[in-house]
């Protein structure tokens, strides 16, 4: 009978993440969306696809997103809420991050209407549910059927037209009718260009693009809401920092890192052993065993993060070699491909070029620049459909 082995310290966790004999196991229940997607691949198959997709996820691209593209997307998405003076942050965060994730994934919105965006948002929420089915409190078989149905509808309404447009552009490029600059730089285009090399199938492309959409939007949207909640709590106790939140983006970034450390997108990493593994610490894992990486324990280890490791403190200093967000983005070849995009680069004396604060920091900074605060007429509600610590609604007030 396979055993379940739980790892709770950073050294064991890092070694497990880097072991070629331990493969991804977090999404076994979410195959309806996650089968054959990048994070679920292993070994050479993972390396081949990751090498190609990594070309889209480098710092020069992120610099363009953060400093040129994203400020416009933020303004277009959030300004209407500032004008209304109120917002529900869970919805707003997903709407905002979806607008960027759609560009990264390569999902067109041909009509450009709010109704079309709302439909894409609704599809994405199904995909998020699919990816996190392991933690669902609902009837799993019923939800898999419902999510599969939505995936097919999304494919027909959004993916096929997006694919047709890209195929047409690639044909024009091959014919010398357009320049490379006129071809989108997104995941869907990359998959179409490398379709045969990567041994893809239509259903794999479908799930990979759906995954990029949900991963790009959901993790960042969740961090956006949680960081605002954490900062509101912090400045209630430390009112002198309220001004700093509005004026110092790197301080906001520290708040994001601290929030992500305390609230990893998934509270556990999961690996399945393909062969026996013995970690340097002596922990032995037999073939077939399940390895649970307890990210909450790893990220609140007092030996690394201090005696009050479980508390939010943006002034926290961490030892050299330890990320301020712990192992929330995993480690090794499966480290989150969008990590630098979401939370930026940890500032260092050797840093070259613009500092990347990350899209979550930029969005949180915007909210505090518009005096985000609790709505006294409505309270935030936890999401009871999942064991993950999500909000289902988080009402706030904003100023212009």
């Amino acid at each position: 009978m396979p055993a379940t082995i739980t790892l709770t310290n950073v050294a064991d966790a890092r070694e497990a993440y880097r072991s070629p004999d331990l493969r991804q196991g977090l999404y076994d229940a979410g195959e309806v969306v996650m089968a054959d997607v990048l994070v679920n691949l292993h070994g050479d198959e993972h390396k081949r696809r990751r090498r190609i997709e990594n070309r889209l996820f480098r710092r020069d691209t992120f610099d363009y997103y953060e400093n040129e593209l994203f400020p416009e997307v933020i303004e277009a998405t959030l300004a209407p809420y500032a004008q209304q003076g109120r917002a529900e942050l869970v919805h707003v965060g997903h709407e905002l991050m979806l607008n960027l994730a759609a560009l990264t994934a390569g999902v067109d919105r041909a009509l450009g209407t709010p109704e079309e965006s709302a439909r894409l948002h609704d599809y994405m929420m199904f995909f998020i549910e699919g990816a996190t089915l392991a933690h669902s409190t609902l009837d799993r078989a019923e939800r898999i059927a419902a999510i599969g149905e939505q995936l097919a509808k999304w494919d027909a309404e959004f993916l096929q037209p997006s694919m047709n447009r890209r195929r047409s552009l690639l044909a024009q490029l091959d014919a010398g009718e357009i320049d490379e600059a006129e071809v989108p730089r997104d995941v869907l285009t990359t998959l179409l260009r490398n379709y045969d090399v990567l041994g893809l199938r239509p259903d794999i492309v479908q799930r990979e693009v759906a995954f990029m959409l949900l991963a790009g939007a959901h993790t960042s949207a969740t961090a956006f809401v949680r960081t605002i909640d954490a900062i509101l709590g912090w400045i209630a106790a430390h009112p002198d920092d309220a001004e700093r939140i509005r004026t110092d983006r790197q301080f906001v970034q520290r708040c994001v890192h601290e929030t992500v450390r305390l609230n990893p997108s998934s509270p556990t990493g999961v690996r399945r052993a393909l062969a026996p593994v013995t970690l340097k610490s002596g922990v032995h894992i037999d073939e077939g065993d399940m390895v649970i990486i307890d990210l909450v324990a790893v990220n609140t280890d007092p030996a690394l993060f201090g005696a009050e490791a479980a508390q939010f403190n943006p002034y926290r200093e961490v030892p050299s070699g330890i990320g301020p967000f712990g192992l929330s983005f995993a480690s090794g070849a499966h480290v989150c491909i969008g990590q630098d995009l979401a939370v930026g680069v940890v500032p260092s004396a050797d840093e070259q070029g613009h500092h990347l604060a990350g899209l979550v920091s930029v969005a949180v900074h915007w909210a505090f620049d518009h005096n985000v605060r609790h709505d006294p007429a409505a309270t935030a509600e936890p999401d009871k459909t999942t064991r993950r610590p999500y909000w289902s609604s988080y009402p706030v007030l904003l100023d212009l």
């Binding site: 050294a11 890092r14 880097r18 390396k47 990751r50 090498r51 190609i52 990594n54 070309r55 996820f57 480098r58 710092r59 020069d60 050299s320 070699g321 480690s331 090794g332 070849a333 480290v335 630098d340 260092s348 050797d350 070259q352």
Partner: protein
């Protein structure tokens, strides 16, 4: 002490983090895999350790003389 740097292209997943961190020391080859430039500049050991640690695939190994340096 200045470390010697070896980069295993078979392991590299083309994240480009080393090239972004030290563009005068690392570059992409024709397959967009990272490599050390010919005649690289000297970098502080602490910076090289951070770059090696930041490589997601563990493709970068540092050597002090002939001895691999642990970056865990």
């Amino acid at each position: 002490m200045t470390y010697r740097v070896e980069l295993d292209k078979d392991v590299c997943i083309s994240s480009g983090k080393c090239v972004a961190d030290a563009p005068h020391f690392f570059r992409f080859d024709a397959d967009e895999l990272s490599e050390v430039v010919a005649d690289p500049p000297e970098l502080p050991d602490t910076q090289l350790e951070a770059i090696a640690r930041g490589c997601p695939s563990g493709a970068i190994t540092l050597f002090a003389g002939d001895t691999p340096v642990s970056i865990d």
